[in-house]
Symmetry: C2
Subunit: 358 residues, 2 copies
Amino acid sequence: MHKKLFIPGPTEVAPDVLQKMATPMIGHRSKDASALQREISEKMRKVFHTTNPILLSTSSGSGLMEGSIRSLTAKRAVVFSVGAFGNRWFKMAEANNVSADKVESEWGKPTTPEMVDKALATGKYDVFTVTHNETSTGIMNPVEEIAEVRKKYPEVLWLVDSVSSMAGAKIEVDKLGIDVCITSTQKALALPPGMAICSVTPRALEHGKQVKHRGWYLDILEIYKYIETKDYQYSATPSLSHMFALNYQLDRILAEGLENRYARHKAMAEYTRAWAKNNFALYPEEKYASVTLTTITNTRNISVKALNDGLAKVGMQISNGYGDLKEKTFRIAHMGELTMTDVKEVIAAIEKILPTLG
Amino acid sequence: MHKKLFIPGPTEVAPDVLQKMATPMIGHRSKDASALQREISEKMRKVFHTTNPILLSTSSGSGLMEGSIRSLTAKRAVVFSVGAFGNRWFKMAEANNVSADKVESEWGKPTTPEMVDKALATGKYDVFTVTHNETSTGIMNPVEEIAEVRKKYPEVLWLVDSVSSMAGAKIEVDKLGIDVCITSTQKALALPPGMAICSVTPRALEHGKQVKHRGWYLDILEIYKYIETKDYQYSATPSLSHMFALNYQLDRILAEGLENRYARHKAMAEYTRAWAKNNFALYPEEKYASVTLTTITNTRNISVKALNDGLAKVGMQISNGYGDLKEKTFRIAHMGELTMTDVKEVIAAIEKILPTLG
C-alpha cells in the first residue's frame, strides 16, 4: 500500500506528473534538449520571481549548496545556521577547504537581521548563507528583514537554501537581492528527488572567477557555461526524466497560480499549528514557524515511532524528529500537492491513534 | 516521433523499465528504501563481478569520476587518457587541486600496459585511472593486460571509467583488481540518465582517510558511511525513481544472462565494424575497437549532419563525432537494449540515405 507522505521530502507526486518520469529518452545534446531546458528556465524564473539565469543540477539540493559555497567564496563565508541543514552547509565549506565561520542560533530560534548585521560589519566576508526554511526545527527565517539590513553590505554575495520552501512560500529573489537561491525537486515543487535548481546573479558568476579550485561537476560557473555557450545544455548528461516531469509540473504550478499556492500552504500550516498548540507545543518560535512543515514538541512523551506505525496501517506517514530531536519532536509536512483535506485527514488519524498510545 | 537512439547515451529504455520511473514515492530514510538499495547492490555486484561494496550517486558518471580521484588521491594521480573523457578526468583533478599527471595516447590508440608500467615505476603515484571505453574515439582499452603489469604495483589504487561499457562488456572487477569501477545508468545498463554507480575496495576507503579535503556530496567515504552506518541509505536524498527502475532492470539483465548480453554486444559490434570497414574506415585501431560503439572515419567526406537529418525522418539517431572530430568521424552506438535487428535496421537506413548525400 502506498503511504501518503506528510514528510519534508520526498513529498507526494501527482499521478500525471509521475507519468512524465516515464517519457522515452532523447539525446541530451539535441535541439529538443535545449528547448526543454529553456522552457524550464523561463517558467522557473516566475516561481523564483527573478530575471536571473536558472541552473539545473542532477544532484540533491545539497549538491548546489556545496557547489555554490565552494565556487563563489573567494575570501571567507559566514554560514548562518538554525539547524541540521545550516550545519551541513558549514560542514561542506570545511570539507572543501573554504574559509568559513558559523553563526548558529539556538535551535528553534531564527537567524536575526541583527546577527547578520554584526557579522557582515566585520568586513571579513564576501559570502553569507541563510537557510530560508530549516526542516529539522521547522523554522522559516525572516529573509525580508535580513534583506533590509543586508542593503548596508551590497557587495557581499547572499546564498539562500530554499530547498524546502520554494513554490510553497513566496521568495522574491530579485526584490530581496538573493545572489544564489537553491531548491530541489522533492519538496514543495512536488516532484521525485534527483534534481536541484538555483538562480544565480551575473555578478556572482563574475565573482566566482577569482576562485581557483571550484571543482567540476558542482561548479556553478561550469554549469552556467553550458547554458551560455551550448544553448541551454548541461555540462554532463542530465536526468532528462526529471526535466520532462519538471517542465510539466511547472505548468501545473503556474496554472494553480503562485499566490493561490502560497495561500494553500499558509492555510495548511495555520491549521496544523493550531492543532499542535492545542495538543502538544510548537517547537520553533511561533513568529518564525514554517509554512511548509510543522515541528511539534512531544510534550506528552508519546512514542512517535508507535504513532507512525499506526499511521502506516491507514496509509500515511509523518516524520520523527531530526537527529537528536528524534522522539523529542515530530514533524508534519504540509507542502507540494497536499491540500487542506489531506491535512485534516492526517490529523484526524493522529487523534484516533493518540489514545491508544497510553 | 520518438527517435530510436544509436548514440552513446542516453540509450533506448524498454517501456516496462521506463514505467518503473513513475513509481510513487517512499521516504528515503525508510526500511523500504534500505531494502531497495540493498537489493540493487546485491544484483549490481553480479554485473561488476565483485564482492566489494556498491555505491550509488545521484549524479552523472562524471560525478563519481570526480569524487573518486579527489577523495582517494593522497599523493599524486596519473590519468591515462585516450580521448575526451580521459581528458575530463584530468581536468577534474586540476579543478580540485589534486596533484596529477596525464599520459595521453594518440587519439584512436589505446593505453598500453607499457605506458602504465613506465609511469607507475616512477613510484610517484598512489592512484592511476584508466578509461575502459572511450566514447569519443571508440577505443576499448586492454584492461586485462593492464591488470597483469599492474601486479608489480599492488599498492597503487586503480580507478576505472566503465561508464559506457559496464553490462555490455565483461569487466571482472575483482579478478582484475580494480579498486573503483564506475558506471552510470544511461549507457549499456539501458536506463535513463541521472544515477552513477561504482564498486569500491575496502582498502581504497581506508586510503581515502588520508585525504583531508574530500568535499561532501561526491566524497566516496561519505557515501559509503551511509551504507555502513545507516543500513544501505544515501547521504542526501537519492533519485528513488532511478533506484526503482534500476532494481527492475537488473532483474531483466540477469534474466538475459550476462554472458548472453556480452555476446549480443559483441555480435552487434562485429556487424557494425565490418560495415564500417567496407564503406568507410574504423577510427580506432581495430584490435582495441569498442564493443558498445563504433567510431567511423568519414573517409567519403559526407555531411554527417545531413545523414542524421535523414535518419531522423525515419525515426533514428546516430552521433556526430565528438568535439574536434565532428564531421571527421561519426559514431554508431550498439548497446543496452539494442539488438542485431536494430543495428541492421539503422545500417540499412544509412545505406539508403548515403547515395542522396552526393
